[in-house]
């Protein structure tokens, strides 16, 4: 099982000091958090993608490329990549490049984005959210698997004899997850391709996650990718820990009360009861997290949101120490012992490579270096 963290990349005032970090501080903090994740033994770092304040990660592959150069083992991912407003051609190129630079330590999570005004900034319309996600991903899927693509769709200009470069590392496209909170069409999409399904999980009652994962599993089996319990499921989680649970509650409460999304609404106690948020001791986090599998089944990836709501970097790094030292080793052992042998791990570059029968150089040498002409033009 994979464990990691996912970040929204919000620039939020620390409610205990009244001070917002600068964008520069926040960007550097995200990098420090990613490096710390590797240091404490976590498997995955995933960054959000946003194109409006108060968020900084507008350019995920720039950040992930930089982190790739400063880490050895960490799997780099997204939470999420906007499949609606990004050109799928650019996603294919950017993430294939990142895959090469990082030595295959890349996967992606597709998401739609729920902020209406962002869409027209990129020439799109939020009312087409689902159709955009479907069409764009289908093109992306082909661009990584077919050397030369002829394509025509509703939302971007047609492609003729287009080759997305670089070709995926070793001829193996990055694994893709699809994230959605309550759109059954996206669970269906993930199932259709045999991709992973990630349930954000953290801001809603568990029933949402349970319904969506059940639908995904059922459709995964329907499309013949394996049995329902072999589908690839990821979940979000949100925790704040101190050795003593009362200290955790006391320290986290001002951040909770003023947080984006749920701040100034339900009490910390109500929200921890209604959603997977856990504020307490490492043992409480272990118990709660182990409980997730009771309503989604054995799953492959657990990401925690650790760095939002204005929490200072120092505190986040302390949280990661607790997560890496006290929580994840226990969870890893427990989840592994509970999971039946026929339930797979989340695909990685190594496992996909093995499944494909080994690496192949997928370079497309199609163009004359001097004339710039493709061979077929000379015929």
């Amino acid at each position: 099982m994979q464990f990691g963290i996912f970040t929204v990349g919000d620039v939020t005032v620390d409610p205990t000091t009244g001070r917002p970090p600068s964008e520069h501080e926040r960007i550097k903090a995200m990098v420090a958090i990613a490096q710390k994740a590797e240091e404490v033994g976590l498997d995955v770092f995933a960054t959000g993608e946003h194109h409006n304040p108060p968020f900084v990660p507008s350019s995920p592959t720039t950040m992930l490329g930089y982190i790739a150069a400063r880490t050895e083992r960490l799997l780099l991912s997204t939470s999420t990549t906007l499949i609606t407003t990004n050109d799928p051609v650019k996603i294919a190129e950017d993430y294939a490049m990142l895959q090469h630079l990082s030595g295959g330590r890349v996967d992606l999570m597709m998401g739609r984005g729920n902020t209406g005004p962002v869409y027209p900034w990129f020439g799109q319309d939020i009312r087409n959210g689902i159709p955009l996600a479907i069409e764009n991903y289908d093109l992306l899927h082909r661009l990584w698997r077919e050397d030369v693509v002829d394509w025509k769709g509703r939302f971007r200009t047609p492609l003729q004899s287009f080759t997305s470069t670089p070709r995926p590392l070793d001829g193996v496209p990055p694994f893709v997850w699809h994230g959605s909170i309550r759109s059954p069409e996206i669970a269906e999409q993930a199932a259709y391709y045999g991709d992973g399904f990630f349930a954000n999980h953290i801001f809603w009652p568990k029933e949402h996650t349970q319904r969506m994962v059940a639908l995904y599993r059922q459709r995964f089996a329907h499309y013949g990718h394996g049995s329902a319990d072999q589908a690839i499921v990821g979940l979000g989680g949100q925790v704040f820990m101190r050795k003593n649970s009362q200290d955790a509650v006391r320290e986290f409460r001002p951040y909770f009360d003023n947080a984006p999304v749920y701040g100034h609404g339900p009490s910390l106690e109500e929200f921890t009861r209604e959603t997977p948020l856990t504020v307490g001791s490492p043992q409480q986090v272990i118990d709660r997290t182990l409980g997730f599998r009771e309503y989604v089944g054995d799953y492959q990836r657990q990401l925690f949101l650790m760095d939002h709501a204005g929490l200072p970097l120092k505190t986040v790094l302390e949280q990661l120490d607790l997560l890496g030292e006290e929580v994840v080793p226990v969870l890893r052992k427990e989840f592994d012992s509970l999971r039946p042998a026929h339930v797979p791990e989340a695909p990685t570059h190594a496992s996909l490579l093995a499944a494909a029968g080994g690496a192949k150089d997928s370079t497309v040498h199609a163009v004359d270096d001097v004339t710039g002409k493709a061979p077929e033009e000379d015929r």
């Binding site: 689902i130 159709p131 479907i134 069409e135 289908d138 509703r154 309550r182 059954p184 069409e185 669970a187 269906e188 999409q189 259709y192 801001f203 809603w204 009652p205 949402h208 319904r211 969506m212 639908l215 459709r219 999304v261 749920y262 100034h264 609404g265 339900p266 109500e270 929200f271 209604e274």
Partner: protein, 208 residues
Amino acid sequence: MTRRTLTVVSAGLSQPSSTRLLADQLAGATRDELVRRGAEVEIQTLDLREYAHDVVNHVLTGFPPAALRTALDAVAGADGLIAVTPIFNASYSGLFKSFFDVVEKEALAGRPVLIGATGGTARHSLALEHAVRPMFAYLRAVVVPTAVFAAPEDWAGDGDDSALRARVRRAGIELAEQVDRRPAATGPADPFALTTSFEDLLAGRDPA
């Protein structure tokens, strides 16, 4: 015997509340008529004051706490709805509006609804027609013709013979009639149900 459910929403704030009193009278009149028509009637009454925090939390977080979930299901699953609000600033109260703001889209489409209101003066009575009725029209509910407003002088009327009682009876009969002519309610559509095939999605075909 047909079984019918009535959900009564009262946005009265004081306890006891004249809004709740009117809601109970409307529910009673509707039940009497449904029983006369041979139905078995179950009434569930929601005092919105008990859900005030939950409604705000839902507005802010996007999901209802468990108790509010149950209340919303009672609204969505009822054969008939009776909705009564005090009139504040010439319109429904904020709590009444916020509650119906978090009722699921489509939950009231085609559903028989009886509206009522209370106020400090009879000069507020048309708020039912210019504010409450249009809101339910937007939700595509079937609002019965008689809307019942109770001003202070109405409560001073002469028991069963009062003009208010006569309007309550008429409104109850109208709602019962609408409930009676419909099949039993099945609640709102499941938001997690898949309603299209992936082939249609890929082809850009709209299932609707």
